[in-house]
């Protein structure tokens, strides 16, 4: 739902990111307004995931140039946990397993931390359990996953759904979903994509980082960006994604 007068959530200018001393993102400009859905596409190694990790403040990803403003605040000066509390969310491509920590306690601590940062009410374990179960139902998730350790022994699909469950519970202003579609079969993809679609409101925004356009059949993007060599090399609408699917990334590179 693009509106030129909508509030700017994320403003990235000239972003440069190094990983292990090697520059991966080389001067990236990117603007996200409230109510928008963006797709960031590109071949392996084009810098998509690096961009996503740098925005949420992963310590391995070193920002060496440029500015990033999130709702007019300088994001680069904030710790990763402060960014999360301010309303930024990353759906991980490979969610990490945390043996011994129950999923329900983890989810509740995350939920209450973000609620407290917003000045909203925190929930006790029983209230939270109701909320979590209700949310899981919409994502076709087995409530037994609440009692297991975080992502521990989850299938690939269960891990991705657990990410979307967190997205639904934390209700961020801006969600960046890193290859959320990878490793999902077609049914799971539909459930996850519909889950994400339902969360989109005029006040928040979603950035889908993806290699393939198949998720975009369910979540229609307002903008499709193609990355190459650490920059955005082409921006278009939904049609661009379909053209990429048909013609491959070499076509953009050649252009």
């Amino acid at each position: 739902m693009k509106r030129a007068d909508a509030k700017v959530l994320l403003e990235v200018r000239g972003l440069r990111v190094q990983v292990g001393g090697v520059e991966i993102v080389k001067g990236l400009d990117f603007t996200v307004r409230a109510g928008e859905v963006h797709a960031v596409m590109g071949p392996n190694g084009s810098g998509k995931s690096t961009f996503a990790k740098a925005i949420v403040g992963h310590p391995l990803y070193q920002v060496t140039g440029g500015t990033v403003a999130f709702e007019s605040r300088n994001l680069l000066e904030m710790t990763p946990e402060a960014r999360a509390r301010a309303g930024l969310f990353l759906g991980f491509q490979y969610p990490v397993e945390i043996p011994g920590v129950s999923n329900s306690s983890f989810l509740r601590l995350a939920y209450n931390t973000v609620q407290a940062a917003r000045g909203s009410d925190e929930l006790d374990p029983l209230e939270f359990d109701d909320l979590a179960r209700e949310t899981m139902k919409a994502l076709d998730m087995d409530p037994a996953l609440l009692d297991r350790s975080v992502n521990d022994g989850f299938s690939g699909g269960e891990k991705k759904r657990n990410e979307i469950l967190q997205l639904a519970l934390l209700a961020p202003r801006l969600a960046i979903l890193d290859e959320t579609d990878s490793g999902l079969d077609i049914d799971a993809l539909r459930v996850v994509a519909n889950g994400v679609s339902r969360l989109i409101t005029p006040d928040n925004a979603v950035v889908l980082v993806t290699h393939y356009q198949r998720m975009l059949n369910y979540i229609v993007p307002d903008y499709v960006h193609v990355m190459g060599g650490g920059r955005i090399v082409k921006t278009g609408g939904k049609a661009l994604a379909e053209e990429l699917e048909a013609r491959g990334y070499d076509w953009v590179r050649a252009a």
């Binding site: 292990g20 949420v56 990763p80 509390r85 990490v96 011994g100 983890f106």
Partner: protein
């Protein structure tokens, strides 16, 4: 390829950076470091038959006990300090230790008469004795240095025939019981430190649960070492008669000193037919400073004898203190169908060394044992699990399950597992599982990306890791243990 190598290099740098954050978290100064100024009545330094006669005379002991001590001492003289534990420390000078130190004797009729200085000490320790005892329904046998100064709830326990007093008192008031059981589980010549303890023990607790009695409350003792350079040698004896049951809590802290303090306790448990003893410990003695100077040497022999049929002995320990821990709470499963359990969390930091575990000796038929050990190593510490499971030839259908998990924090700590399994009966089932994990930077980042700070994240991971053991602790102790680990992990992040 080059990128991957770079990533790995960078990854290592990150590990170091993260380690320092985690190190700050676990590097909490010891809060219980202070010396209470109470006059004591000390023996001269050094160990000899004269020292032993001095102790025995001070305590007006019967002749048989003096003989018990002298026999142990003479045996000790022929023994060598064990070198097999995976720990390093300078040789202990046994002639440089004060073997007896007692507060000036006073007759105490009630808690009000307890030295206010002592009460303040407990206050600082976070042990509001009066309130705690009342609120939690806990009878506290207070050991201050080497002599009991106050015993509460004794009367209430006496109504059901339970004896809960200092071992010195028991020697005078219940000599037959003490004489019958003392040294039957841990013989005077059992090992170097047990022999030393048998020669010079000054005080400790005695607990006797008569036939068929379920102890109506948790029994608890707070130990505290107070005089600089005074080794403390407690002796604890717990006897549960047929069908009796008791849950016993032991909690320890010590003041901060530079010179090392030797601690060599002996705990003996005896469970007769259908009896059950649950023994829980939270240990937070001074561990030395961050450079490894000072701290308690904790060389303890704890052993339970499941003497009767269907008896059960369960050890639960949370070990967070001491410079060196050398401790193997064990069960001898003599009676048929008897059960031994060992649940342990050992946390080491800085230069702490822990070599701890258990021994499960199956002698009777259908005996079962369960070992759950969780080791957490931070800083430059070294944490070893050492456990023996022995199935004797008569132990038909014996079963053991062992699980030993280690968690490493940072890149300079070490964890080892030394399981010893000896099976002499082909009908036995013995299972051993072990895992090692590290608090990784990716896990920390996952928490951070959900708004959760490093401190809470580490605490959540550690509490999750230790849950199987904490569940075994009595309620109020579980809270204390969680707080204690939190204290050790609290820090300067943010």
């Amino acid at each position: 390829m080059r990128l991957r190598r770079e990533l790995q290099r960078k990854g290592k740098g990150l590990t170091d950076a993260m380690s320092s954050v985690l190190e700050n978290l676990v590097n909490q100064p010891y809060r219980h470091g202070f010396v209470t100024d109470i006059e004591s009545d000390k023996a001269p330094k050094g160990l000899s038959e004269d020292t032993i006669r001095f102790i025995s005379a001070k305590k007006s002991e019967p002749e048989w006990l003096l003989e018990f001590r002298l026999k142990a001492y003479r045996h000790w003289l022929t023994m060598q300090e064990p070198t097999w534990p995976n720990v390093k420390y300078p040789k202990v000078d046994f002639q440089d230790i004060i073997y007896y130190s007692a507060p000036k004797p006073k007759k105490l009729a009630s808690m009000d008469e307890v030295d206010p200085e002592l009460l303040r000490t407990f206050e600082k320790l976070g042990v509001p004795m009066n309130e705690r005892a009342k609120l939690a329904g806990v009878a506290v046998d207070v050991i201050f240095d080497s002599v009991s100064v106050a015993t509460t709830y004794k009367q209430k326990l006496a109504e059901v025939g339970i004896i809960f007093c200092s071992i010195s008192e028991a020697v005078h008031n219940h000599p037959d019981l003490v004489r019958k059981h003392l040294g039957t589980v841990v013989p005077t010549g059992d090992n170097y430190y047990a022999a030393l303890n048998s020669a010079v023990f000054t005080d400790g607790s005695f607990c006797y649960i008569p036939k068929g009695v379920k102890c109506p409350m948790e029994l608890s003792t707070y130990f505290r070492i107070n005089t600089e350079s005074s080794g403390q040698f407690e002796r604890t004896l717990i006897v549960a008669e047929e069908g009796a049951s008791v849950s016993y809590l032991e909690g320890c802290t010590a003041p901060k000193f530079d010179s090392n303090q030797l601690h060599a306790a002996v705990v003996e448990l005896v469970a007769l037919d259908d009896a059950e003893i649950k023994y829980s410990t939270v240990q937070n003695w001074y561990a030395g400073d961050e450079n490894g100077r000072g701290g308690i040497y904790n060389f303890v022999t704890k052993r339970g004898l499941c003497k009767g049929r269907n008896s059960k002995i369960s050890w639960t320990q949370v070990e967070t203190g001491s410079a060196i821990t050398w401790k193997y709470p064990s069960c001898v499963l003599l009676g048929d169908n008897s059960i031994g359990e060992f649940y342990s969390v050992a946390l080491t930091n800085h230069h702490q060394q822990a070599d701890t575990g258990t021994k499960m000796v199956h002698i009777g038929r259908n005996t079962r044992s369960r070992i759950i050990s969780k080791g957490i190593s931070a800083g430059q510490s070294n944490n070893s699990y050492r456990g023996l499971v022995k199935i004797g030839p008569r132990a038909d259908n014996a079963r053991n399950y062992s699980q030993c998990d280690s968690m490493l924090i940072g890149s300079k700590s070490g964890a080892n597992t030394f399981p010893y399994i000896q099976v002499q009966n082909s009908g036995a089932t013995v299972e051993h599982e072990a895992t090692t994990s590290r608090i990784g930077e990716e896990q920390m980042f996952y928490f951070a990306s959900r708004g959760i700070g490093a401190e809470e994240a580490v605490s959540m991971i550690i509490n999750g890791f230790c849950r199987d053991v904490f569940q075994q602790l009595p309620m109020e102790f579980a809270v204390e243990a969680t707080k204690l680990l939190g204290l050790k992990l609290e820090g300067s992040v943010g």
